[in-house]
Amino acid sequence: MSKWALRGIKLLGYLVAAAAIAFGVDLYRNHDVPKALPNELTLTTLAGEPLSVAKMSEKEPVLIYFWATWCPVCPTVSPTVDWLSEDYKVISVALRSGHNAKISAYLKQHELEFTTINDAQGEIARHFNISVTPTILIINDHKVTSATSGFTSPPGILARLWLSKLSD
């Protein structure tokens, strides 16, 4: 019995350590990301609909996913985000990836259905002080509660979304 308990504690220890490292890395990589949402950020989707991230984030956390067609790491993260977009509010921002038609074609080819905004000049990313793809921001009630770059696992993103809800 005690052997199993010991193993359980050990496992828990590893998980806490891993989470701490992930948190530390997030913090270090994204120390430039502002804590509050940039003012009056109204975005237009590829479909032409206007979106207000701030308003959306008042009811539930919003995940903003910065990606690019020129980023070879992004195809490893995009399917996860796409999957999450079925149950959570997800906005994807295509960073300096060309014109609308090209991005639409790319999304179709890769079977991605998330709502996408074309940030052709990288201005939206600049608002958030983001230069790196892939980056995932979680925004809750006008505040950036979490920012992470690079490869992120599905449980990692889910954990961040839940944490964001808990901290309400």
């Binding site: 980023c71 230069s131 793809t133």
Partner: protein, 658 residues
């Protein structure tokens, strides 16, 4: 004739004067931006520097765009593959500049998960040619250089490039010229010793296929594709297949072409294949021919998965009769015969344990290769045999066991080793399991010839397929063990124990000894580099190359001798190709050995102003450079950059006869 020589002397004089002048004035520097950094992204630094030269006929300014990347950061080649974007310069508000043409050094392949990209790590220097507008005296570069860089994250960074260029004030900077030549030498050329033997495009599966032949054989080639055709600008090519023929001379590669909108017509378009293989790097262009043969290609692809799995299963099974493994299986069977009384259940368990050992080891190897692949290491099966320590260790192990089987116990094995390897019948399940591990490790040297196709397929396949193929390999090899485990009765079919049993061990010992010797022969190539170096040292002493000297050239020519000048550098791949492919081959080798031929070499491996000036005297800025002087050609005959034996022989003959 006489006037000819007088003219020659005059030429010499002018060369001397220009030499003297250029040495006096080389302190001048050419415009440069210095190292530029970005506050957003401190892992990259870039620098643009002009060489200070200007070609008035083409109106071009040679320049160097250097990129320094920290740690694991990479940037991309002209056609970086799926994802990835090439570095580019937007002229923005530049004045007096028409365009900038890029030269791309040979890239390396990198993998992110299973996505293949072509690019550069640590540092890369792009030689550029800045084309200045007609009649412009001054030019102003005010451009944006956009550089993409990735590790497990990607960044697009803009660097402003600003230079004021006054054409009348430009002075060549010998250091930058040297750096430019050096960077140009990294740009792949169509070297002679390989060629494209087939280039085709199949519209029904959008596959572009090539066959590249190289007489000296390919070892671990990396292949890249791009097209200069404007219509194909946005076509993305994805490597789908890469195979080597059994004799290693023919390399076939296929790429899947795709376009974000609609794929343009590829037939009759020219495509360029860049291939890197160790120190060899070259590029070949060929038009794509329509390929109608491979209509059922889609079925073919699924077929290859099944046939690869089947090949893996059979290959694994065949491994059992290889001299590396047979003794292990044999000893196991022998133990079965010797201990007739063992219960069926125990036989079953012990063989199952061994089979698991085999399968687990194969899966572990597959997982290891997969991890290496994910981490972006360039993997190939048999790369472990490029490691002399691995081979040596295996050779020692097989030798020790062979000795052991001969009954020469003078070499005492560590107790635990002989316990699990030789007497597992008295050991635990773990003992039987590790016996399987041991058999598999021993089998690896024998895998190369049999598993080539399956493993090559696995390495190019996604992770799950890779593991599946290694699983098939393991199951294949474990089949006999599994068979005995499933039907322990089969052991009754084995011969009765008798006096012949005492011969089993020595026979298997001999097999193991043979394996050990074979492994030692595999080690031979690892000794060769040092020995070939010493032979090349010998050849250089026996046929000495003099240091480059204008004075000696002049003196030798007046004595009626032929002077062959070879300006070369260790970092120059074309130079190496010339040396191995032409200079060291007959008939050139003998022709250069003739009594009236003086061999002269300028080694530009490190910067040398004398050699730079020699090149400059002939309006040349890079190596390889070859020139032949003689009574028939006192001012010298320039040879093509890529030497051919004909050109060298003809030049020597022409130079010899006045």
């Amino acid at each position: 004739m006489k006037t000819n020589t007088t003219f020659g002397y005059l030429r010499w004089f002018s060369v001397w004067v220009s030499l003297l002048l250029s040495t006096l004035s080389w302190a001048q520097t050419a415009p440069t931006t210095g190292w530029l950094t970005s506050a957003e992204h401190d892992a990259v630094e870039v620098k643009l520097a002009l060489t200070g030269e200007f070609n008035p006929t083409t109106r071009t300014l040679p320049a160097l765009l250097s990129v320094q990347l920290k740690d694991d950061w990479k940037t991309y080649w002209r056609a970086p593959g799926e994802g990835g974007i090439p570095p580019r310069i937007d002229l923005a508000s530049s004045k007096g500049i028409e365009q900038i043409s890029w030269h791309w050094p040979t890239p390396s392949e990198y993998y992110v998960q299973s996505i293949r990209t072509a690019g550069y790590k640590h540092q890369v220097t792009f030689p550029l040619e800045i084309v200045v507008s007609e009649a412009a005296e001054m030019a102003q570069l005010d451009a944006i250089f956009t550089l993409s860089s990735c590790t497990n994250i990607c960044v697009l960074t803009d660097f402003p490039l600003q230079l004021d260029i006054d054409l009348s004030q430009l002075t060549p900077d010998s250091e930058q010229s040297y750096a430019f030549a050096r960077a140009m030498s990294q740009v792949p050329q169509p070297l002679n010793n390989a060629e494209i033997t087939r280039a085709s495009y199949s519209a029904n599966n959008q596959q572009v296929s090539f066959e590249l032949s190289r007489a000296s054989g390919w070892s671990s080639p990396q292949v890249f594709i791009h097209s200069d055709a404007k219509q194909l600008d946005e076509v993305v090519f994805k490597l789908t297949q890469q195979d080597l023929s059994a004799d290693k001379e023919r390399l076939s590669v296929s790429f899947e072409a795709s376009h974000w909108l609609e794929l343009p017509e590829l037939v009759n378009q020219k495509a360029t294949i860049t291939v890197r293989d160790g120190e060899f790097a070259a590029a070949y262009t060929a038009p794509l021919k329509a390929d109608e043969v491979s209509v059922p290609n889609n079925a073919d692809h699924t077929m290859t998965v099944w046939s690869a799995l089947l090949a893996a299963l059979l290959g694994g099974l065949i491994l059992n009769i290889m001299p590396c493994v047979l003794p292990v299986l044999g000893i196991k069977v022998q133990s079965l015969i010797a201990h007739h009384g063992t219960s069926q259940r125990y036989v079953r368990i012990q063989f199952l344990a061994t089979a698991m050992g085999v399968i687990t080891t194969f899966l572990a190897m597959g997982a290891l290769l997969g991890l290496l692949k994910l981490s972006g290491v360039n993997i190939s099966w048999g790369m472990q045999f490029q490691n002399p320590w691995f081979i040596a260790t295996l050779a020692v192990i097989t030798f020790v066991f062979a000795i052991n089987l001969f009954g020469l116990y003078s070499i005492s094995l560590p107790q635990w080793l002989s316990q699990w390897a030789m007497k597992p019948q008295s050991g635990s399940l773990l003992g039987h399991f590790s016996q399987g591990v041991f058999a598999t490790v021993l089998a690896t040297p024998c895998t190369a010839p049999f598993l080539g196709t399956a493993v090559a397929f696995a390495l190019g396949a996604p992770m799950y397929l890779l593991l599946l193929i290694f699983l098939a390999l393991g199951v294949g090899m474990a089949l006999p063990w599994l068979a005995i485990a499933a039907f322990p009765q089969t052991r009754r079919l084995l011969p009765k124990p008798g006096p012949w049993l005492k011969w089993v061990k020595p026979v298997f010992g001999a097999l193991l000894l043979a394996t050990s010797i074979w492994l030692l022969t595999l080690l031979a190539p690892h000794w060769q580099p040092s020995s070939s170096e010493s032979t090349s040292a010998q050849t250089t002493t026996e046929r000495s190359w003099q240091a480059l000297s204008f004075k000696t050239i002049h003196q030798s020519v007046t004595q009626g001798k032929v002077v062959f000048v070879d300006v070369t550098a260790d970092w120059c791949i074309t130079c190496k190709a010339n040396k191995l492919g032409v200079l060291k081959q007959e008939p050139v080798y003998s022709a250069l050995a003739a009594d009236d031929v003086v061999r002269m070499r300028g080694d530009w491996t490190v910067r040398n102003d004398y050699i730079t000036d020699f090149l400059r005297a002939y309006d040349e800025y890079g190596v390889p450079y070859n020139r032949v002087y003689g009574p028939g050609a006192p001012e010298g005959i320039e040879l093509p950059v890529i030497l051919t034996s004909d050109a060298v022989m003809r030049a020597i003959e022409d130079a010899r006869h006045e």
